[in-house]
Structures are given as C-alpha cells and as structure tokens.
Symmetry: C2
Subunit: 172 residues, 2 copies
C-alpha cells in the first residue's frame, strides 16, 4: 500500500525546488495509513498529528495539504461540509473512485465507475488542458432522513442517530 515512499516524495518535491521536511513526510504517512475510504480535513489531520505527539503547526498543515494537492499526491474533496477534505490521489483505474454524500447527515459512500475517468479524459483532451483530478459527487438524502420526513420535518442540524462515529484518530 506504500504508494509514495519518502524517497519518491523527495524526488517529486526536489524537482519543483521544494524540500522534503519531516513534517511533510509525517503528513504523507498519515494519509498512507488512513484506511481506504477515509479522508481528512485540515483540522482533523492536525488533531491526529497532535494525538501522535507530532508538533506540527496548523499553518504547516494547510500549506502541506495545498502543496501535496497541487503536486497531485492528494485529492481535494468538496463534500459540502463547510471545509475541504483530502485523500490520497490514486489515479489508476483500480483505485479511482467517487463519492455519494447525504447532504443531511454527511454520511458518504464510495463507488467506482471506469467510464467517468474516461469522460474526464475526453473533456480534458478537447479543452487542451492537463488532467489533475476527476471526481463525480452525487448529493442525495439518506433513507434515515427521508424516514424522518425530510425535508419539511427534519431540522437542518439533524443527523442519523448512528452516524456519530467519526474520525479524529481513525488510523487503521
């Protein structure tokens, strides 16, 4: 599962006049160890690092997330929760996936579909630009919310009873 070794990261960075610092290495390793299907916000990553007794400033976290996303190592997800989430970018057909998210409780499901990347590649070619990422986001309302009588009966902060088991230090 080690898709980017510290060394290949170093090469990537040095090619662009950037440096491999312990902070960057640590942050990448958090993503490497994240179980498939999870993604982190800057704040969540920062908390994980703190739980691991790593001293990395929040601004460094933000700067590193940007850098790695720009390089193409991370993928930026916009799941409409008020902040971006990040995950490893695995552009090969095998790992490439997309998201279905409930706009009420933010539960997310992953799915794969090879034809999407093909469509993205076609468009990119037509526009004469270079592909970085291609993600389908399906917004929906979950069964539980519908059962509660969404949308009229569901207060905007309502969330599935069971869905409160999330993140913070979810490294497998």
């Amino acid at each position: 599962m080690n898709l980017y070794s510290a060394n290949s990261l170093k090469v990537e960075l040095n090619q662009r006049g950037c440096r491999l610092t312990p902070q960057r290495e640590t942050i990448l390793s958090v993503f490497q160890n994240l179980r498939q299907g999870n993604h982190l916000s800057a704040e969540e990553l920062y908390n994980i690092l703190h739980n691991q007794r790593e001293k990395i400033g929040l601004s460094t976290v933000y700067r590193t997330l940007h850098l790695l996303a720009r390089i193409g190592i991370l993928r930026e997800l916009e799941l409409a929760e008020g902040h971006k989430h990040y995950e490893l970018n695995l552009p090969d057909m095998h790992h490439h996936h997309h998201h279905l998210v409930c706009i009420q409780c933010h539960k997310t499901f992953e799915f794969s579909d090879e034809s999407i990347l093909k469509i993205g590649k076609k468009q990119v070619e037509k526009a004469g630009v270079e592909l970085l990422d291609c993600q389908l986001t399906v917004r929906a309302v979950c069964l539980e919310a519908l059962r509660e009588g969404w949308p009229s009966m569901v207060p905007s902060n309502w969330s599935c009873p069971r869905s409160h088991s999330e993140m913070e230090d979810e490294i497998s």
Copy 2:
C-alpha cells in the same frame, strides 16, 4: 427560460412551511436572468443585488442560497475557489451539465454527458437514497499555465492574462 415562476416558487416554499418573500423572489430572478454557464458566490450575488439597488442583507443571501439549494432549485458548485458557487438546478437531461476547472486560474468550461447522470442514478438507487444533484468536476491545468511552466515556474497567484473579465454584474 422562466423555469420557476414566482408562483411555483411560492408553492414549493409553502409546502414546506416556508414563505415567499420579496427577497427570495428577487434572488431567484437573478439566477433566472444569469446567462447560461454562469454561477454566483454569495458575495457576488450580494453585490449584484446592491448594484440593482435591492436592499438585502448578506445573511439573507446566505440563508436563501441554502434554502433554495436544499429545496433543489439551486445547485451548489464546489470549484475550489475558496467559496461555494450556485446556479439554477436543471436536472433534465437537456440542461444538466458538468464543470472542468483550471486550478490555477479558475477558468471553467461546461460540458454535458448524459451517461453521468445515469451513473449517479444507478448509485443512488443502489444506496437507497434520493438523488439531489450529480456533478462531475474535472480539475485540470490550462494551456496558458502549462506554457508558463506550471507548476514549478508558476507562482500560486498567477492567472491567465486575459481571464480577468469576470462577474460582479454580469447579467445578460
């Protein structure tokens, strides 16, 4: 092009115990008059309203955008510019479209592909949830940025020389 009349908006709102206010009507009309392919952030919408001498508070703008997106009248776009954008949600095959965006200069291209909505519908059915929106976002780097030597040679605030003609009061 009048897809939602004031009256059908009223019905939609009243069904959910909400009211049709002049502010909501005005905001919807801005989107109706926006030329196809444009989308607005809360701030941009607020400015347009001001230019039209409408007195609508920024919080009302935010509240209305949320409401209309929740109802399914607007579509929330996440084009990675630091804030959400909104456009009319036209879920029929004919108007449904997707976005290709340059992460460097934020230029966006629209495209249609019927198979995407089909994929979304399939996933939604499988997950047993109700579809609200289905959008493919392709992130790429534009030709101009590549020519400048992206990524190593391009400062992160660089933008295509010509691409500075945007928004603010772009109503056609």
